[in-house]
């Protein structure tokens, strides 16, 4: 096992991650990314909480301070199992306000304040720098273990070079996958997938080493516990302050760390994933920390005194000759470090570009921002440079701090810095009284105390803060000694920093908030954030815009890209009932657009950009007060009223329709009654008259035959009329028995055409006989009857010069239908409603041979058969659609 082989393995592993990330991006682009949005992947992506600090540092931590390392995982456990309290609200706010980062959250909450966003960004970058240095240090150390194991040892220069190479590699990977799309609200599928895989690798590696230590070396659980009790950390010795303080610190850090905010809130695809992560993520942390103490104890026991306990996970398998296990362990540590750095730099780069670079850029060209070139290019470039910059800072810290500090100690420094955003964040989502002055005061106070009492001293005594100041305070003021503020000495440095920074930060935040008055926009945003579950829709922040829709489109295209922006505008236009790309510039639309833009460049910038366009028309205090708070409730109430009145309107319309139908029917019915009495009387009159004549003696046999023929015809007409009436009555009462047969549609239509007695001269029938081979199982005689009726109707009523009837079988929504369409003038809209009613007859009475029962019978038949018949408007002529009996047609296919 040479050092070069190790490098090869590491490179192969990175290549493997590249492939995974590429594949995930490809699948997502092809619309198959659904499975990357599963709760499992979400939980695994949360595991970036467990960095190289956990992988290497926890064992070192345990070897130095016993069980104290557990506090770093117990604190987050409490936050995550209590997801209903805080996380759920954060995620909901993040989604409804399109939050891109923790800086965006705070900036957006406090009136989209650009200054506050920048301040949080600065704190986050400063606090994350030691953390990133920690990862570089751990990867470099793990390389050096293998290098020193071989023939050639490593000097400090080699270590520095390795750290530089690792940093450069991470910059390339992160830029490749992290800045592909501008919208930070879109999930980075490739990266999420890669860190999920890394989560599995690091868990497997640590558990494998643990299993080897407990069962391979330790001799089982009982023996290992006995070994622990015989070790230097055998006794439970925890200072209460550190135990409780660190648990609070890590719990707060889970909420405030930029990278955790990124995976928890920004990359969250579905709020319900939290319910799974609530137990799965603590389980993951438990598995990660289960074997830490055994590894530490066995390492202390077996390895020579003075070995770096941070590297036991690697050196222990190596010392036992288990090279394979050591390599797995190396990959686990490598995974832990790289996944953290990647996500952390993405989160920080988003914040830097959205809250520092773009606002400054916009300000520098305030007048020409609207017409100038593509903002996307600027934002992306800013983001890429920020990634490189953040890693460079980490490298510088690594070099300055000398790379010799215990990993856990560095991590804690970072935690204390990052949690300075906690009061502003929690206050922002639970307390409507919080103002931006309060938030700024709290953040500045906390940041200053952190820097003075923990961050600057961490470079080493005398490096940044002179030794004299450390011992006696600046200018000899003892009350301001960095590690003994207010003259209280002897507190643990970390607890000291947490205690004072949190107390004074919260104090400044509360006092500042109480003493100042929020701007209208702040009050509005405050109500939106605190009451996010009451009304998740955004309230309007703009009055009727003075900006033209076209100006807005031009600007949005520059930020969102042409396709995306046009899609949004088109959707909005469609929602307003307009065609084309330019919707009415309503306050609602502007608010929607602002939220969309915020997803790319952050709330403050989006607000400023829209503000430039709407110039002067932005909201007045009265407008804002009107929509805030109580007004929001009234609005909600009025939407409810609107919904109700819409419903009433619907009902009224239905009633009106029914009434019109009834009136039409009653008119039709009167007409029918006179018609039917006429129809009955006419044959009756002729029958009576001719039978009287037949009674006369002396009629010639020829006349006799003639009159008898007339009587028979008239009697037949009567019978037909009565048959129809009877048929309809039977059908309507449901007394009809169906005679099911098997057959083909083609034969049925053939029979119908023949029986309708349509000659070639009357009407031309167009069919597609080839398509009509559909097999049917139904009452074919009845179906034929329906077809005969439709064909005969067409022949009778089609008023074209060369009448044509098209019979066409096809499928609509998976249902077989037969359309009968003629080329006549069709049926007018008023009549369409009543043609299927049984007493209806249309227009020209003289032409009609029947009594207006045909279509009513057809409808009854089709209903009995399980199909349907309907008039098909807008086909050029009269068109009837017969829906074939569904289950039977299906069965026959």
């Amino acid at each position: 096992m040479t050092f070069n082989q190790l490098i090869l393995i590491a490179l192969a592993y990175v290549a493997f991650l590249f492939v995974i990330a590429f594949a995930a991006e490809r699948r997502a682009a092809a619309g198959q990314g659904g499975w990357t949005r599963s709760p499992l992947i979400y939980t695994l992506s949360l595991s970036i909480y467990c960095t190289a600090w956990t992988f290497y540092g926890a064992v070192g931590y345990a070897a130095r301070s016993g069980l104290e390392y557990l506090t770093i995982y117990l604190g987050p456990t409490l936050v995550v199992i209590g997801w209903w309290l805080i996380l759920r609200k954060l995620v909901r706010i993040g989604r409804s306000q399109r939050i891109t980062s923790i800086a965006d959250l705070i900036s957006s909450r406090y009136g989209k304040s650009a200054v506050l966003g920048g301040l949080v960004t600065l704190i986050a970058v400063a606090a994350s720098t030691p953390y990133i240095a920690l990862q570089l240090q751990s990867v470099t150390l793990s390389f050096s273990v293998f290098a020193n194991n071989g023939a050639t040892g490593w000097g400090p220069a080699d270590l520095n070079a390795a750290a530089l190479w690792v940093a450069a590699g991470l910059v390339v990977f992160t830029i490749l996958f992290g800045t592909r799309n501008l919208d930070a609200n879109e999930r980075h599928h490739g990266i999420v997938m890669a860190i999920a895989v890394e989560a599995v690798v690091k868990l497997c590696a640590l558990v494998a080493v643990g299993v080897f230590v407990v069962w391979g070396i330790g001799g089982g659980v009982g023996a290992t516990l006995a070994r622990i009790d015989a070790s230097p950390i055998a006794h439970w010795e925890q200072s209460g302050g550190r135990w409780a303080g660190l648990m609070f610190l890590s719990a707060a850090a889970l909420l405030c760390l930029p990278r955790m905010f990124q995976v928890l809130v920004v990359e969250n695809a579905d709020e319900r994933h939290l319910a799974t992560a609530a137990w799965a993520f603590p389980l993951y942390m438990l598995a990660m920390s289960l074997f830490v103490v055994p590894i530490a104890v066995v390492g202390l026991d077996l390895l020579p005194a003075g070995s770096n306990p941070d590297l036991f996970v690697l050196t222990l398998p190596l010392s036992q000759g288990r090279e394979g296990l050591a390599i797995l362990s190396f990959l686990g540590g490598f995974s832990s470090a790289t996944s953290m750095v990647i996500v952390a730099t993405i989160a920080l780069a988003t914040m830097v570009s959205n809250h520092i670079v773009v606002p400054l850029w916009l300000r520098s060209r305030r007048t020409s921002a609207v017409v100038s070139g593509d903002v996307r290019g600027v934002v992306l470039l800013a983001r890429r440079l920020s990634i490189a910059g953040v890693l460079a800072l980490g490298y510088v810290y690594y070099r300055l701090s000398g790379g010799g500090t215990a990993l856990a100690a560095i991590g804690l420094i970072s935690f204390v810095g990052v949690v300075q955003t906690l009061p502003a964040m929690l206050g922002g989502i639970f307390w409507r009284g919080a103002t931006r002055w309060g938030a700024a005061a709290g953040l500045l106070t906390g940041f200053a105390i952190w820097a003075w009492s923990l961050f600057l001293p961490s470079f080493g005594a005398g490096e940044v803060i002179p030794i004299d100041v450390l011992a006696n305070g600046p200018f000899g003021i003892g009350l301001l000694r960095p590690q003994a503020l207010f003259g209280i000495a002897g507190i643990d440095p970390v607890v000291h920093a947490v205690l004072w920074s949190m107390l004074l930060n919260t104090g400044a935040f509360v006092i500042g908030s109480v003493l100042t008055f929020p701007t209208p926009l702040e009050r509005l945003q405050g109500a939106q954030f605190v009451n996010v579950f009451d009304h998740s829709t955004g309230a309007r922040t703009w009055t009727q815009g003075a900006a033209g829709a076209e100006d807005l489109l031009v600007m949005s295209q520059r930020i969102l890209g042409a396709t995306e922006a046009q899609a949004i505008f088109q959707r909005a236009a469609a929602a307003q009932g307009k065609a084309g790309y330019l919707p009415e510039v309503t306050p609602d639309f502007v608010a929607l657009l602002e939220r969309e833009l915020a997803g790319s460049v952050g709330a403050a910038t989006a607000h400023a950009m829209i503000g430039q366009l709407i110039a002067g028309a932005s909201v007045s205090v009265q407008d804002l007060i009107a929509v805030a708070d109580e007004a929001a409730q009234i609005m909600e109430y009025s939407t409810r009223l609107e919904a109700k009145s819409a419903e009433q309107e619907r009902t009224a319309r239905q009633l009106r329709d029914a009434n019109e139908k009834l009136t039409a029917l009653s008119v039709q019915k009167d007409a029918f009654l006179s018609q039917i009495s006429h129809e009955l009387r006419t044959p009756m009159t002729s029958i009576r008259a001719f039978s009287e004549i037949l009674g006369d003696p002396g009629i010639s046999p020829a006349d006799q035959r003639k009159y008898a023929g007339i009587i028979e015809d008239e009697a037949q007409r009567l019978t037909r009329l009565l048959d129809d009436l009877l048929d309809l009555a039977v059908l309507e009462n449901g007394q009809v028995t169906l005679n099911r047969q098997d057959g083909r549609l083609r034969d049925v239509i053939d029979r119908a055409v023949a029986a309708a007695g349509v000659g070639t001269g009357d009407i031309v029938i167009q069919r597609r006989r080839g398509a009509e081979s559909l097999a049917l199982t139904t009452d074919l005689d009845r179906l034929t009857q329906v077809f005969i009726n439709l064909i005969a109707n067409a022949a009778k009523y089609c008023d074209a010069l060369q009448p044509e009837l098209r019979i066409w079988l096809h499928q609509v929504n998976g249902v077989q239908v037969v359309d009968f369409t003629d080329n006549g003038s069709g049926i007018d809209a008023d009549s369409q409603q009543v043609i299927f009613e049984k007493f209806s007859r249309l227009g020209d009475q003289g032409k009609a041979g029947g009594a207006g029962l045909g279509l009513a019978i057809c409808r009854e038949i089709m209903t009995r058969l399980g199909g349907g018949i309907a008039y098909l408007p807008g086909q050029g002529g009269a068109a009837f659609r017969v829906t074939l009996p569904q289950p039977l047609a299906l069965a026959a296919q």
């Binding site: 016993g66 069980l67 557990l70 117990l74 456990t77 409490l78 936050v79 995550v80 199992i81 209590g82 997801w83 209903w84 309290l85 759920r88 609200k89 516990l225 006995a226 622990i228 009790d229 070790s231 950390i233 055998a234 006794h235 439970w236 010795e237 925890q238 209460g240 135990w243 409780a244 648990m247 709020e271 319900r272 939290l274 319910a275 799974t276 609530a278 137990w279 603590p282 389980l283 438990l286 289960l290 103490v293 639970f430 307390w431 409507r432 009284g433 405050g526 605190v530 009451n531 996010v532 579950f533 009451d534 409730q633 009234i634 909600e636 109430y637 009025s638 409810r640 009223l641």
Partner: protein, 100 residues
Amino acid sequence: MTSPPPRPPVFVPRASYRQRRIRDMARLLPMVGAVLFMIPLLWPQRGDGPGTGEVQMTSGAIVYLFTTWVILIALAAIISRLTGSDDASGDDPAAPAGRA
């Protein structure tokens, strides 16, 4: 238009009632966990002075902490399965309580 929106009902059906109590449990669980994780601080330590009797061993502490942890995870799993994530009942003290 000017009349206030109807207040949420004071008494709710049995199913909603059960749902609300489960949410109460979801809110309570982290507090319970915090108390359980603080209990080890009450154990006798070596520095507590003479006559404090037996000193707690690390192995016992490991067993206690990890067992508690597993129990909390199990409870969280059960509760999160039972909580419907929709807040249709509008019962969310965390939000309206913050009304300033």
